[in-house]
Amino acid sequence: MAEARVLVLRAAGVNCNEETAHAFELAGAVTSQIHINRLVQNPKIIDDFGAMAIPGGFSYGDDIASGRVLGLELDRVLGDAMRKLLGRGGLILGICNGFQVLTKSGLLPGPEKKGEPIKATLVENESHRYEDRWVHMAVNGKRSLFLGEESRIELPVAHGEGRFVVDSEEALERLEGDDRVVLRYVTADGGEAAYPANPNGSMRGIAGICDASGQVFGLMPHPERFLFPWQHPTWTRGPRRRAGDGLAIFQHAVKNMRS
């Protein structure tokens, strides 16, 4: 079987790199954690990998706005190398701050098959507070290469700027119509979510989206924090699951890298 090689990006303030690498390895990938300064010196390093992950954290302190400075760096310095990765069928995953980075860099929602790109952003939570809590999500895995048949998953969120906003209703319709709204916050019984089930006030409860190709995926919740049953907040109440809901995301990615 072909080796699935994943580049896990490091940068000042990125802090979920260890556990993101661990999650990919658990799913069968081989990972390298590489500092952005090395990639800036030599963007060709990316050519050795089949996928790139931008982990959670506070890149450059999230100064100015979350993901802004690292997003600018990806766009200006690594943009070509990342587009090349996508061109040969590679995957890009952005978790939490990584999603913010991908959004601010323009890789998400990404280029449209026709017409102008959708203008989207992730901004301050409506509560004006950073919050760590578990959320339920409905899954639409039709387009994304990171998801499969799952219909509902639970993961934790931990962020202060996760409110997904686009500049028009039409853009929202387009994202949904194209099956690019991959994850949506719902209540425990699957209904429409208000705060706190929608933890940040995102439009239409959007928690994660993919680009038009399905190769780029960004989500605010942390799949790498739910790999094992005992990471769930009510695991002591049973019945026990065999694995955490987050693991499947890494497994789908690895499977799709190999095929």
Partner: protein
């Protein structure tokens, strides 16, 4: 050219920050001042024109989906404006955004030579200038670190702080004692007469005068903060003589117990214990009380930053894996006019310290797993902030050594004028002018600088690039280099240290407590590799000098020697003082007139008490799951409403071996007897780890004392009693202390007298959990199960939450029973063997509160029959039985399959089934006569517990 960028939310997009200020305006009685509009401001300068500035703003500063940008020249922007307040950091105070702006601009091909960031707030309602000044100082900014410009619409351009002269200066020590003491005060040395006399004699012998930097170095090294003079003083306590209090109590317990899992105790920056075959764990808790009193956000953030550096500076550097934080603050609902002058309102203190810990801990990527908040009016002027950190370190990286010839290398942040005299400041009493006089002691941290430094340090550790490491904490380079070079001596050239701005004197560089700096001892052959590694991740380094082999501390400034101190005198020259201590019990509280309230009302009041109510509003702002190690989280149960006793984490990814952390804090018992307070705090910390699955036989504890002025014999007497309590409880429970710290002089002087904080001892416990899958949580799991109480209930309501809420202190403080260790061990066995569905320790509010919490957290009813509770001692009323805070007790849920084995395990110990879970959502208590004395709907109890503190913090309740 200077460009002023103003960024505002586009119409139709609400700005949550502006909204929060609108919500807070009523606190000042100024609700009419809103609505509030705000703009984020950037003043950026460089060799670029308007077009380039527009492009910079559009690419770096603006979110085009929700914001609009206005670009002005500084002249255009700088207008007088009614109803506007502009806020920015004072010159010289760290603004972390500057560095990111510089980096972002560089990616766009622009170089910035001027950067300033801030906000302006416009008030569209009715408000006058004086009111704006109040809003500015109370809601928008902190005068110590922020510039608040009322009626101006632009950021001011930077002014470089004035430089100090930096020429070698000798100080003549006056022969007259009074003048000598005056000199200590004038220079802010915080040295007493006896110490100054020893210094005078020393230099007399050397036949020269000391230089300014030599005196400052001695003052830092000999400060209470660094030397713990009180704890090691000779103390006469009511005729009983202690030659060294800490060695005779805290240290003695550790030595007498001699537990084999202790690796390093009381000698490094944190205590170290065994974890698994490859790793050890280390744990340290620090206080940052005085800085947090003056600037809660910066004080708490840098407090946490400091203790994280302690972990990085333990052994050859441990990786921080969890943080804990404990705050003690005044009454959140106090009326502003009732507060002593110069004091920040407790609500703002609490919000500030929570934000400070949140912003630092979250950015570092370290989960905040456990904590506590404690309220008492006596903390109003002198709040307490405890910050702790746990680290993991490979077993072969726990020892450090310095060789002569090793280079002294500083890593991390630059040195500025921030935090000068922090060590000596923390050793003095706070007063009404502390805010204006001592502002330099407070600073704002930059977590990302520390994160970068941590990444490089741990990589360098793994590559073996240095032989020793320590952090720059109190006393800055002075303490770090002084400690590392204690055995071999050090030679330092201070002009090689990079500074934040020009003009620092050599003494300022030497004693600055600027954050985010570590010092390492590097073998010369590894120097290049270390410097290269640091540079590759944008971590600044400097070679300050070398460890010399001369046994002296030699400091140079631009080639000229400014200090030549004997290490031996510096570290061992401090004279031992003799102090008087006394303790007598307080007068008895007369309870004859006490009429017990209705039990249901009492329970509701207890659950609403901020000390007991849910801390969810705070907990959720901390990332408690980063690093993916969380197993038992701070909030548990069906809807995460349950306050977990302790936290369990599995720190090695892929392994199920873990640890539990728990805290013990019961200052109100100290109002009756500090001896029993200390024993209770230790028992509580142990209960909190055992209740979630921690092994009491592989558990270590930390002591953190926050006390009043121990120059006063009564405060010192209380400290002696508490220390004795620590020794006795540690021996009884076989718990070694592995690290500790004390913060004395926590008093607040007002014109109406001095307010002394309660005697506050925080005990933190760290216990091994062999397999985290065996840990349990406190929420009831199923209907039809039995609930047992383990341990005896006595009439011990002295200092209890129940009596306090009813206006009494009480007399009978909880005492540690003789069979405590057996109970904790057996409880652990029961959990480990899988007999236990849920377990909750009984602490504040006793069986009543613990039972209610288990029930609403599990979404299951519970009925308890008080007649079945095993008791000891004098007869009790039902309310006493329900709310007594006797130690060493657990409520335990057991199902019918395990009941027989569970009971057999406790055959020779007090344990009885006292109730059972119900499908019906009610919490019901039967008195000893069998009649129902309390029956409350679970939903009500849960709501009261969950919302009471949150409502205050959200501003929905206005005291």
């Amino acid at each position: 050219m200077l460009w002023h960028f103003e960024i505002r939310a586009r119409d139709g997009h609400r700005d949550p920050f502006a909204h929060e200020i609108e919500r807070e305006l009523p606190w000042l009685g100024l609700e009419k001042a809103g609505p509030v509009k705000l703009a984020r401001l950037y003043l950026l300068g460089g060799e670029f024109d308007r077009d380039a500035a527009i492009s910079l703003g559009g690419s770096l500063l603006l979110d085009p989906v929700i914001q609009d940008l206005e670009l002005k020249s500084l002249e255009e922007a700088d207008q007088e404006a009614d109803k506007v307040v502009t806020v920015c950091r004072k010159a010289g105070v760290t603004d972390p955004v500057e560095e990111s702006l510089r980096r972002g601009a560089a990616r766009l091909g622009l170089e910035l030579d001027e950067i300033r960031t801030g906000f302006h707030f416009s008030f569209e309602g009715e408000v006058d200038r004086a009111e704006l000044e109040r809003i500015g100082a109370r809601l928008l900014a902190t005068a110590v670190v922020d510039e608040i410009l009322v009626g101006r619409s632009a950021l001011p351009a930077h002014k470089t702080p004035a430089g100090s002269k930096s020429e070698r200066r000798e100080i003549e020590l006056p022969a007259d004692d009074e003048a000598l003491l005056g000199l200590s005060r004038e220079m802010g040395l915080a040295l007493n007469l006896e110490e100054m006399q020893v210094i005078r004699a020393h230099f007399h012998e050397l036949e020269r005068d000391p230089t300014d930097i030599e005196l400052e170095t001695l003052a830092q090294t000999w400060s209470e903060h660094c030397k713990h003079k009180t704890f090691s003083a000779r103390i006469d306590c009511d005729g009983k003589i202690y030659d060294n209090l800490i060695k005779q109590t805290i240290f003695k317990a550790t030595r007498d117990l001699d537990r084999d899992f202790c690796v390093s105790v009381f000698k490094d920056n944190a205590g170290i214990i065994r974890f698994d075959d490859e790793n050890n764990l280390c744990f340290k808790v620090e206080t940052h009380n005085h800085p947090s009193a003056i600037e809660p956000y910066g004080g708490a953030g840098t407090g946490l930053g400091g203790v994280i550096r302690d972990i990085l500076g333990t052994g050859l550097g441990a990786k921080p894996i969890a943080n804990v934080d404990v705050f003690c603050v005044g009454d959140l609902e106090a009326e502003t006019e009732d507060l002593p002058q110069g004091v920040i309102h407790p609500l703002r203190v609490l919000k500030g310290v929570v934000s400070g810990v949140r912003d630092y801990g979250n950015r570092m990527g370290i989960p905040t797993v456990s904590g506590a908040v404690f309220f008492d009016r006596r903390y109003t002027g002198n709040p307490l902030v405890y910050a702790g950190s746990i680290g993991i370190i490979p077993r072969d990286r726990c020892e450090k050594v310095v060789h002569a010839g090793d280079k002294i290398v500083a890593l991390g942040g630059r040195t500025g004028r921030d935090g000068i005299h922090g060590a000596t400041f923390s050793s003095m009493e706070l007063h009404e002018d502390s805010e204006s006089v001592d502002g330099g002691a407070v600073q704002i941290g930059n977590a990302i600088t520390e994160k970068r430094c941590m990444d490089v340090l741990l990589a360098a550790r793994d590559r073996g690039l240095y032989r020793s490491v320590t952090d720059c904490g109190a006393g800055g380079f002075s303490s770090a280099v002084g400690e590392m070079g204690e055995e071999v001596g050090a030679r330092v050239e201070l002009s090689s240290a990079p500074t934040k701005y020009p003009g620092l004197s050599y003494t300022e560089i030497w004693i600055s407590e600027a954050q985010e700096r570590m010092v390492v001892a590097v073998p010369p052959e590894k120097l290049d590799e270390l410097l290269e590694l640091a540079a590759s991740e944008d971590v600044e380094t400097c070679v300050l000098g070398e460890f010399s082999g001369t046994g002296k501390l030699e400091i140079f400034w631009q080639g000229e020697q400014v200090a030549d101190l004997d290490m031996e005198f510096l570290h061992d020259g401090l004279p031992k003082t003799t102090m008087k201590a006394t303790w007598s019990p307080p007068p008895r509280d007369d309870l004859r007139e006490f009429v017990p309230p209705m039990a249901g009302e009492a329970l509701r009041a207890l659950l609403a008490d901020p000390n007991i109510a849910s801390k969810e509003w705070i907990i959720r702002q901390y990332d408690h799951e980063v690093q993916s190690t969380s197993v038992i989280k701070p909030l548990v149960g069906v809807t995460a409403a349950g306050p977990s006793d302790g936290a369990v984490n599995a720190p090695v990814l892929g392994s199920t071996k873990g640890y539990a952390v728990g805290l013990g804090l019961c200052p109100h018992y100290a109002d009756i007897d500090p001896y029993h307070m200390a024993r209770a705090a230790i028992d509580e910390a142990l209960r909190n780890v055992v209740a979630v699955g921690g092994d009491p036989d592989r558990c270590a504890i930390l002591d953190n004392f926050s006390w009043g002025n121990t120059q006063k014999p009564d405060r010192l007497g209380a400290l002696v009693r508490a220390s004795e309590g620590c020794y006795d409880a540690a021996m009884a429970l076989r718990l070694p202390f592995i690290s500790g710290k004390d913060s004395l002089n926590n008093e607040y002087a007002t014109s109406r007298g001095t307010i002394v904080i309660p005697h506050t001892l925080l005990v933190s416990a760290l216990a091994i959990v062999d397999d985290v899958r065996q840990s349990v949580s406190m929420d009831l799991k199923r209907g039809g199960t039995s609930v047992y109480v383990v341990g005896l209930t006595r009439r011990e309501l002295g200092g209890s939450a129940y009596l306090r809420l009813n206006g009494h202190r009480g007399n009978d403080v909880p005492q540690l029973p003789d069979n405590a260790l057996s109970i904790h061990r057996r409880m652990h066995e029961a959990i480990r063997d899988g007999f236990v569905l849920s377990c909750h320790d009984c602490s504040e509010g006793g069986i009543g509160v613990a039972g209610a919490e288990m029930a609403f957290s599990g979404g299951l009813g519970l009925e308890i029959d008080l007649g079945r509770v095993p008791i000891s001692g004098p007869r009790m009323r039902d309310d006493e039985l329900l709310f007594s805070e006797s130690l060493c007790r657990y409520l335990v849920e057991v199902d019918s399959r395990s009941a027989a084995r569970f009971e057999a395990l406790f055959e020779d110990l007090p344990c009885a089934p006292i109730g059972h879970s119900l499908a019906e959502e009610k919490f019901r208590i039967r008195g000893r006569n069998g009649a129902v004395m309390l029956e409350e709907p679970l939903a009500d109890l849960g709501r009261i517990h969950r919302q009471s503190l949150t409502a205050i913090l959200e501003g929905e309740v206005r005291g």
